[in-house]
Symmetry: C2
Subunit: 675 residues, 2 copies
């Protein structure tokens, strides 16, 4: 069914890699004057030039997007997000390329000669006495041989789908992990995990089954011209369950909407990307034995579940281990005296996570996410002030460029992708299915979670979460990964339309929706913190935190933080006494200084939460990564930084919120276990 | 002679690009069970894994390098620079890969079938009824067909030579341009241009001719087994004339050695890279007509000169134009309110220079250099404080990673490159030739320049410049670009050895050499500024500046700066009155405020240079890009930043130097033309 190699057919060598090598005409001066060689060189140079032009097209697109975003921000237009804009520009250029360029290719003459065995990866061809090397690109189905001679320009602007997974998604996902608002994330950890794991699984299953019904219906009315299996439907369910509320979150940030809702939405979307990737891999790995290869098979099903658990936990481990190694290296060397070295090391270690996971057969993108979270939680504290802002800014820029690139590519793909299959029934069915699929996990899960939560997820929040189920880069990347068969092509086209619709319509409707649902805008935890008496609030926060979080928190605070960073209580007090030597070696000298300080302020510590940020040298964490001299530059989310200056007048409380609420949270377990 | 396409044979797809597309096994679950397809997928997955492993090797190398650099800096070891270290680690890994891995390749079975015409770029092959597409990789000389079956691991760690030109060199060169210490650069502009253009040409010609003598000698004693033309010798001269005193400059920075010498060396090395690239292109383009294709031909010679001028000026224009466009965009939009957008735009525009130049047939690397200089001179002033540090840091990190990558790759290439030809006679001849070639331009040119310079280039400086003629990344990248023929392979091996020798020996000898030549360490312009009376110094600076500089300065100050940035005098005062409207549109409103300020301080302006930094809003330029709130983070050269904290005690005057001397320079033309 799938001919994965064929997917590689249209390749634009990003960064001019492959084609760069062909740029030869200038340097071949003294060579023998064989005419065919010169002709090949001319072609090669021409190809290099075309590559440059097509990359320039994308750069122009992004530049235009940036300038228009600026104009929109300047004029405070909020109905269209930068990603939506990138798609529109992509669409326009796509139309121009599709209908404005000549459609025949000059120099790709296919040539046939028969081989008997399976295809070789390398081929030597004898051309009038000279030998030329060829490499295998992929299989062409016999009926489409002439498609090889497609529009040259369209071919140039078509990327290898793996570019998304290997180059563009990693910085986006890493940045998501690295900029996770840890405090609110961990406070809502239980709910986020429930939404991400259970929710995505439920959504995938429901969408898969509904789509199977749609496909059956299409078969009945004769709208289906090729095979469409149940596993394909489930794969579609997995692909389209990856939510990406980038638009909504940007608006939340700008309007300083409720932080808990933000944490729930952001945490869910980040983790469910990982779940969706691994889920789709597992569904693909579902290969029942025997004759009926697309019926249910218990053995294959459990194998798939095993694959899911294996890939997920393996990638998680990879990411966590690299993060921990980086934390240890930055803790025990004085690399922080040389911010450039530190930043370079940080970048290389984070990149190596991806490669390590891929080399071990896990999923690099998932590993990168957990690496990002670990780096933010531990390594970040060991970095120098300069490196903190450097790493933040570096990944912020990479994330921005990659994200806008993907969205403008999506716009382009609507017209330049050659194998679209738009089926109205399937598309309408898909829209209904994703609506029902999201409703079917948000409301029941929220109900169940509310049984255990003290701080309930209100109806308005549930509606907002329901509404924010946008699809974006991840769904697109998963869908374009395999467009070899009829069913996959139809899924890809539908996914593209769903992304367009949700980003434009839902993204544009966020601001009205927020006010319609009465979700607090610009009313942040600072105010709510002032609402009740201090003791009552502290109590509430305490009970609110689930046992899972409490367990994790004390382990993290007592052992991991002191081992991996310069903060936390000295290990000599938290570890049993027989580990004395080890504890002394691992504990950072700075901790003892903090400890002295702590004893003096001990009474204050319990009664007055004002000074908590100073104790234990934990400042950075407490202030949630956005404190320090560079408040503007290092704040956790780039969009916040941008909007801060603009919105400063609208929302004066914005800046204060960070610090005050963080104190509130940190009060939960003030040294309960050690003393 | 040259078969340029063959060069592309061993390709490691950087960033897993090409190979990434082959990673398919996981997703091919529901496919038909054809065995050969599964086998191909297994191979593809295996290939992807190997790519990951080989990239991991490089990351490990760089990580090791970073940690060792830290150790060296920490212990103040100065005899070995980070680039030298990267080469050593590369060498070690190269030895392991060469002698520690099995040398046969499993699955690259060459296959021959005859074609009659010239080779096609795409080939369709029929394998038992299925069609597979193949693409042309390059020509193989008949004798070396079996070389295709080389060690798989060695092949994986061998990059396409164009990777250096298209990915690794651009950030290095851009950073060089962007971090040029403008004040000292422009003060010594005439000398730098003379060294870069005349010097490189003289060096290239002398080395070329000497090497031709060596080659004749080798032919006489029978040491030469294949053709070696005069043009090859000249090409070698051009390649090896690209100096790269990265090691020396790092030490200069750390020791705060003489700034003028620094400017001369840095300026020369930056510009002579550009000259060497274009020179080698021109030599390759030298194709005499008629029978004796390697004899002198006046027409071909002048064509080569034309090519040189064309490519150079074209690339220069491209770089300058993109820089100017970026300056205009950043001046006339309020993009500086959104540093992320600004940084992204800056990055994209700078990258587009490269692509634009390549698309137009010019040299991207050269264009990028001039773009960097333009960006630093104009755009930098329009950027927000945050974007200034962001862009500096972004390109600093890219530069650091790319540079160390190239040097560790060089170490690796000594063992993994399969076609080394080491000829002792040629190597010894080359060492003598580069010594003589450098001596033959440094001393005579310095003598001539000293006739016109008031502030002479002393003998000690000349010796130091002679000594600092290291070869580095650019020579390597030029040499590896074409290793198709016997002569080019010999040139490549020799270049590699020259780079090793100069980086290790000369780099390690810099500190002793500096003290032996009595070049002022830690004695900077601040002190020398205090030596003589103020008026005498001002006078001297004035006379010292050549007419070229004066002309450029007043044009730049009166017209370009006011048009492109928010600084300089209002255009309404400098342009003729009939341009009134245009002048008013182009002049930034901020300039008038500065103008008001200026009038009040006008007397101070002439008599007292203390406040010059405030007038005309020109602060950033005057303080040479390293002023502002972020002194530590935005200082012009990264190494200075690093060393500053370390050396602060050793050299307290370091920081003051920047401001005081800049005032000195700026005094030269205080509104002579307008007022």
């Amino acid at each position: 069914m799938a001919l994965p190699l064929r997917r590689r057919l249209p390749v634009l060598p990003l960064l001019l890699l492959a084609a760069g090598g062909l740029r030869a005409a200038e340097r071949s001066g003294g060579s023998s004057s064989a005419m065919e060689e010169l002709a090949t060189e001319k072609e090669a140079e021409e190809s290099h030039r075309q590559d440059s032009v097509s990359l320039l097209t994308f750069i122009l697109l992004l530049t235009l997007t940036i300038l228009t975003i600026w104009l929109f921000k300047h004029r405070r237009v909020r109905f269209l997000h930068e990603t939506g804009l990138a798609m529109i520009y992509g669409l326009i250029v796509g139309v121009i390329l599709r209908y404005g360029t000549p459609s025949t290719s000059g120099h790709d003459k296919p040539f046939s000669c028969s081989q008997e065995d399976r295809p070789f990866t390398t081929l030597l061809v004898n051309v009038s006495g000279k030998f030329f090397e060829y490499t295998l690109k992929g299989e062409i189905s016999p009926g489409k041989i002439h498609n090889v001679e497609q529009n040259d320009m369209l071919r140039k602007v078509t990327f290898d789908p793996e570019v998304f997974f290997n180059i563009l998604l990693p910085p986006i996902i890493f940045h998501a992990g690295y900029s996770l608002k840890k405090r609110h994330f961990f406070r809502n950890l239980g709910s986020i995990l429930a939404y991400a794991f259970l929710g995505t699984a439920v959504s995938c299953f429901i969408i898969g089954n509904l789509m199977y019904g749609v496909v059956k219906l299409m078969k009945l009315v004769g709208q289906l011209s090729d095979k469409f299996y149940y596993t394909d439907c489930l794969l579609f369910g997995a692909i389209i369950s990856a939510t990406d509320p980038v638009t909504v979150l940007a608006i939340f940030n700008e309007l300083h909407a409720d932080v808990d809702l933000y944490a729930l939405l952001f945490g869910e979307s980040v983790l469910n990307d990982a779940v969706a990737i691994v889920l789709s891999s597992s569904i693909v790995a579902y290969q029942p034995t025997g004759e009926n290869t697309h019926a249910f098979d218990a053995a294959a099903f459990f194998k798939s579940v095993g694959v899911f658990l294996g890939i997920f936990s393996g990638s998680f481990m990879m990411g966590a281990v690299t993060g921990v190694v980086t934390a240890l290296v930055t803790k025990f060397t004085k690399l922080h005296c040389f911010p450039l070295l530190e930043t370079a090391l940080f970048f290389l270690m984070s990149w190596s996570t991806f490669l390590l996971a891929e080399a071990c057969g896990f999923t690099g993108v998932v590993a990168v996410l957990f690496c990002g979270i670990t780096q933010a939680h531990y390594t970040y504290n060991n970095l120098s002030v300069e490196s903190r802002s450097r790493t933040k800014q570096l990944f912020e820029v990479l994330h921005f460029l990659a994200e806008n690139f993907i969205f403008s590519y999506m716009g382009l793909a609507l017209f330049t992708f050659q194998k679209h299959i738009f089926s109205p029934v399937f598309i309408i069915g898909a829209f209904i299915a994703i609506f029902l699929g999201r409703a079917a996990h948000i409301y029941p899960l929220s109900f169940l979670l509310n049984l255990g939560r003290r701080h309930k997820i209100s109806w308005n929040f549930q509606h907002m979460m329901m509404f924010s189920g946008l699809r974006g880069a991840m769904a697109f990347a998963l869908a374009i990964r395999d467009t070899a068969t009829y069913s996959h092509q139809m899924m890809f086209s539908t996914t593209l339309l769903i992304v367009f619709f949700t980003v434009w319509i839902v993204g544009g409707g966020t601001t009205p929706m927020l006010s319609w649902l009465n979700i607090r805008i610009c009313v942040d935890s600072y105010k709510s913190a002032l609402d009740g008496p201090d003791s009552e609030r502290r109590n509430r926060t305490k009970q609110e935190s689930a046992w899972l979080f409490r367990l994790w928190y004390s382990f993290d605070h007592n052992y991991l933080k002191p081992i991996l960073t310069h903060s936390g209580p000295p290990l000599t007090t938290t570890l049993p006494s027989w580990c004395g030597l080890l504890a002394r070696c691992l504990t950072s000298p700075q901790v003892y200084d903090n400890q002295e300080q702590l004893r003096e302020e001990d009474s204050d510590f319990i009664l007055n939460d004002g000074d908590l940020t100073v104790t234990y040298g934990d400042t950075t964490i407490t202030a949630n990564g956005s404190s320090g001299p560079h408040t503007a530059t290092t704040s956790l989310d780039g969009r916040r930084t941008k909007s801060r200056s603009e919105e400063a007048l609208e929302c004066d409380l914005g800046a204060a919120d960070h610090e005050v609420t963080s104190r509130g949270t940190r009060l939960v377990f003030p040294l309960e276990d050690n003393a």
